[in-house]
Symmetry: C2
Subunit: 569 residues, 2 copies
Amino acid sequence: MRTSQFPLNTVKETPSDAEIASHKLMIRAGLIRKLAAGLYTWLPLGLRVMRKVEKITREEMEKAGALEVLMPALQPAELWQETGRWEQYGPELARLQDRHQRDFCLGPTHEEIITDLARHEIKSYKQLPIIYYQIQTKFRDEIRPRFGVMRSREFVMKDAYSFHLDQESLQETYQVMYQAYSNIFNRFGLQYRAVIADSGSIGGAVSHEFHVLAESGEDAIAFSTKSDYAANIEKAEALMPEGDRGPATESLNLVDTPDQHSIDEVSAFFGIAKSSCLKTLIVKGEEDELVALLLRGDHELNAIKAEKVFGIAAPLQLADEEQVLSACNAKPGSVGPFGLKIKIIADRSVVLMSDFVCGANQDGKHYRGVNWQRDIPLPDQIEDLRLVVEGDPSPDGEGTITIARGIEVGHIFQLGMKYSSAMKADIINEGGKNQTMIMGCYGIGISRIVAAAIEQNHDDNGIIWPAQLAPFQVALCPMNMHKSERLRVAAEKLYRELLDAGIEVLFDDRKVRAGFMFSDMELIGIPHRVVIGDRSLDSGMIEYRARTASESQELPMVELIPFLLQQLS
Amino acid sequence: MRTSQFPLNTVKETPSDAEIASHKLMIRAGLIRKLAAGLYTWLPLGLRVMRKVEKITREEMEKAGALEVLMPALQPAELWQETGRWEQYGPELARLQDRHQRDFCLGPTHEEIITDLARHEIKSYKQLPIIYYQIQTKFRDEIRPRFGVMRSREFVMKDAYSFHLDQESLQETYQVMYQAYSNIFNRFGLQYRAVIADSGSIGGAVSHEFHVLAESGEDAIAFSTKSDYAANIEKAEALMPEGDRGPATESLNLVDTPDQHSIDEVSAFFGIAKSSCLKTLIVKGEEDELVALLLRGDHELNAIKAEKVFGIAAPLQLADEEQVLSACNAKPGSVGPFGLKIKIIADRSVVLMSDFVCGANQDGKHYRGVNWQRDIPLPDQIEDLRLVVEGDPSPDGEGTITIARGIEVGHIFQLGMKYSSAMKADIINEGGKNQTMIMGCYGIGISRIVAAAIEQNHDDNGIIWPAQLAPFQVALCPMNMHKSERLRVAAEKLYRELLDAGIEVLFDDRKVRAGFMFSDMELIGIPHRVVIGDRSLDSGMIEYRARTASESQELPMVELIPFLLQQLS
C-alpha cells in the first residue's frame, strides 16, 4: 500500500480526555476517532489491526471446532425476563422500545440468545458437545466511558458458548478453549497470563481471565515466583500464616489518642508498625444486623472475598457513622473488638497478632498491649478476608506472591446450568429422559486487545506493534524521491519486489521530508523500516532499522529481502 | 468439512410467516433462525454464504481504491439534527436514550457520521477525492418486517461514501463505483440489472439501483428490448406518443350509467376498450387547493412522477369523497373534466384520445363521444404522469419497453452537497478559499443478497447456489460407509484429495441413508455432488451430478478431480 492511496491520519495533539498511553496513541497514530463519549470510528489503519486480531481469533476458534454464527444485536426483553437478568442487569444494559412499544436491549452478551437457539436446535445428546461462536459488535451503556476503546459503549467481542451433556464434557471443552486462548495470545505476541478469576455476576463455578500485562492495567494479578499459579488479586487466597502467635510482653493500657483515627495516624502516634495495629470495620450482615471485620493494620479488605463469607451482606456495605456509634459507643476510628455485642469476623492473620493496638470503643482512646485470650476472647469466626500482598506464600505452596498489573482481554467460564435451567434448554439423554444441558462461555475483547497491545508495547515515539498485529510489516521510506527520477524508479522496483515476496509493505510516497516520514512510521509502529536514497543506488547498501532498535544498520541491497523474510518468520 | 463436525440444521417444516421462496428455503436449509419479528440468527451454513458475499464485495471495493473504516452503530441525535433528518426520518429510525437521557439512534445509514468524520479529517483539496466504506450491521424499525432477511430490522450493509472537490470528480468516482458494482454482481454469478432510479429521500440528482432479477421481486423494472436502457418503473419516462389525435366521429351524448364507477365497469357497460375511457383523479395541490389528474383508462398513475409535477402536493394525497363532491358536484366514479373550476393536469397520452367516455360530473351519468377542443378545451397542463407499460417506446429511442421484476440489492447516488452543506464540511481549495465538498454514496445489501440469490436460483428441491456464493462447492456422499470399512478408507482418502486440490468439500459422514443425504445436499444447494459406493471401488467409476442437472453421470475415479476443477474454474 502507498501512503498516497492509504492516507495516514496522524496528528500531533493528544485529546484532553485521553488518560492512558493507548488512548493517546490510538488517536495520534490515526487508528480511531471519537464520535461521542465511548463511541469511536475505526480508521483504515486501526481497522487493519483489528482485522488481524479477528483473523487469528477466528482461525483458532475453528481449530477448536467452534461453529461461527451471527446473532442479532437487538435482543427481545422476553428472553432476558426468562433468566431474570432484565431486572438484575443495571443501567449498563442499553434498552429501547420498538415502534410497537415492545422492549428490547442491545446485547452486551448473548447467553439468552444462544440458549434460546440451542433449546430449539439441539434435541438429542448425540448433537453434544457443540460450541458456537461469533465475532460481533456489543453494547454497554458505561456510566463513564473512558480509556478510548478500552472501556467504550460499543465494542467488538468474540463470544463463544458450549453445550454439554455432563460436567466432564464441559471440562474437556473448557480445556480445549483454554488451550485455544493460549494459542491466540501466543500468536498475538503479547505478554499475558491466564489467571484464576472471580466469576462475578455471570455466575458459574470455575473461570479464568486472560490478562495482557501492562503497568496501566486496571486489574492486579497475583503470581507465584516459582510456579505457574496466577490469580486475579480479588480471588488469590491468603493462606493461614504459619507459626504461632508471639508471646504477650506488654500490659494492657488505655491511652488517650485525640484526633488519631486512621491506621497511619495511630501507628505514627504510638511509633509502631502498622502490622501491630488492628483495623476494625463495621459492615452490614446478611439480615440487616451489623458485623465487625478485623484486619491487620497493613492489610486491605478484599470485598469480593468478604461478600462470600457467611454472615456478611453482598454487595459489601460499610455501616454509617450513626450505626457505628450505636453499636460500638464510638465513632469509626476509635472502634475495636472490646466489649462488642455484634458478631466479630477476623482475617486469618489477625489471630497471630500480639501486643497490638486497637480502638477502645471510646472516642479518642485506644488500647495498647492488647493480647488475644488474655485481654479479649478470640474472634467469633476466622476467614480469609484480605487482599494478598507481595511476599505472601503462594496458595499452591510453591514460592511467594508477586503482583503485576493486567488488562482483562479474555474470560472463560464454566457456566453450568444457570441459563439452560432458567430457559428449560433440555435434551433427550441416552436413557431417553429429559436432561438440562450444561454450558460454558468464552469471551475475547477483540477491539480491547488492540488497545491492550499498545499499552504493553509502546515508547516515547509511539506504538511498537508485535509482528502479528502490525498493520504493515515493513515501512519503505525513500529519501527525496521526488527530486530523483532514478531513485523513484529504484524505489518503485523495490516496492514491487517486497510485495512479490509476500511482505505487507507501506510505501511512503508522500512528498515530505525524511524526519517527518520517520516519525510517522515510528508513531504508527511499523516493526521494520527500510530507507532507500540516492546513496543506496551508488553504494548498493540500504538502511534498515527495527522499530525496537536504537540504531540503524546498513545491508547490501541484494540481501534485504532474504533478511526481512527471516526477521518476519 | 464433515457434517459430523459441521451439523446441518435442515428442517422439513416451512414457517407459517414465510411468504416467499427464499425465506422458506433459508429456514428449511438451516441458513437462518428467527429470534423475533425481523431479527434472525445466521447459522454456520448461512454465515458461510454471507461471508463470501462480504469477501467479494470487500475485494472489489479495495480495487476501486475505497478505504475500509468501521463506524459506530449508535449515532448521536445531534448530528441528525444538523441535517434535519432527526425530524424528517419516520418511525423506521430506531431511537433510544442513554443512561444520561441523551438521544441516539441505531444507524440505518451513515451519511451524518461520515460527513462528520470528513469535516474533521479532510482539510485540503489535496486529500480529495477519497472513498470510505464499511461492512456493518444496520437497523431499521420496519412497521411490518417480512420476507426473512429480505426486509428485516437488523441487516448487514456495505455502505460507501465519497468526497470530492467538484462535480467532475464525483462523476469519475461514480463511474468507478458503477463498474465495481458491476464486477461484484458479475462475480456473484447473479442475473442483475443496473437501473436508473428515483433517488427518493436520500436526495441528490443521479442514481442507479442494482437489481437482482427474480419473479418475486418487489420492484418492477422497465427495460428496452434493443438497448441497455433500464429504469425503475417509477422512474421510466413515458414519451409523448407519436402521431396525431384521431378524428371526432361520434357526437357528444350524456348517458345514464347507474352504479358504473370504475374504468372496468364503464368500459364493459359501453362495450368499448379501457383505452377509450378517461380516468379522472382528484388530488391535493401544493397549497391545499384541489387538482384533477387525467389518465387514459388503461394507464396507471405513477405517484412518484406526479409528486414531482409543479402544482401537485407531495406526498400524493387523493381528495376524500366530500372534497370531490364539493369540487365536481359528483362523487368519485362520475367525475370528469367537464366544467371543472379546478386546475386540470393530463397525462401526455390523454391529449391524443378522441371519441372517449368520461364522467359527467353528475352522479350516475357519463358522457360518451367526447372530443377535445370540440366539446371541452384541452387540459391546463400536459405532463408525464403514468407508469410505462410493456410495448411503450423506450425513452432512449431504441426498441420498446419490456417489464421484469427485480430485488433491489444495491444503490449508488450522486449526493451532491445535501449533507456536506448542512454540516459545513468545507475544505480549502486550490485558490485558498473555503469550499463545500461534494459527495456520493454507494450501498449494497450484503445480507439481502443471500436471499435474492436464492429467490433467483432455486427449484422444488431447494437452493441452487451460483458457484461463487455456494457454502461448499462439492458434496461428497458415501453410500453406507458405516457398513464397509474399505469404502470408509476410500471415502476418507478421496475427501483428503479433494481438500488438497483446494476444493471446498462437504463430506457427509452421517450414518443416514442415501436418499436423506441427497435431499439435504439438494436443499442446501451444493453445486456438485459426488457419490462413492462399494460399487465404485470395484468398477473404478464414480457418480457425479451437477445441482442443475436432472441426471447423474459416471466418471472414472481418476478423472474426478481434474473434472471438478474444470467445472469450478
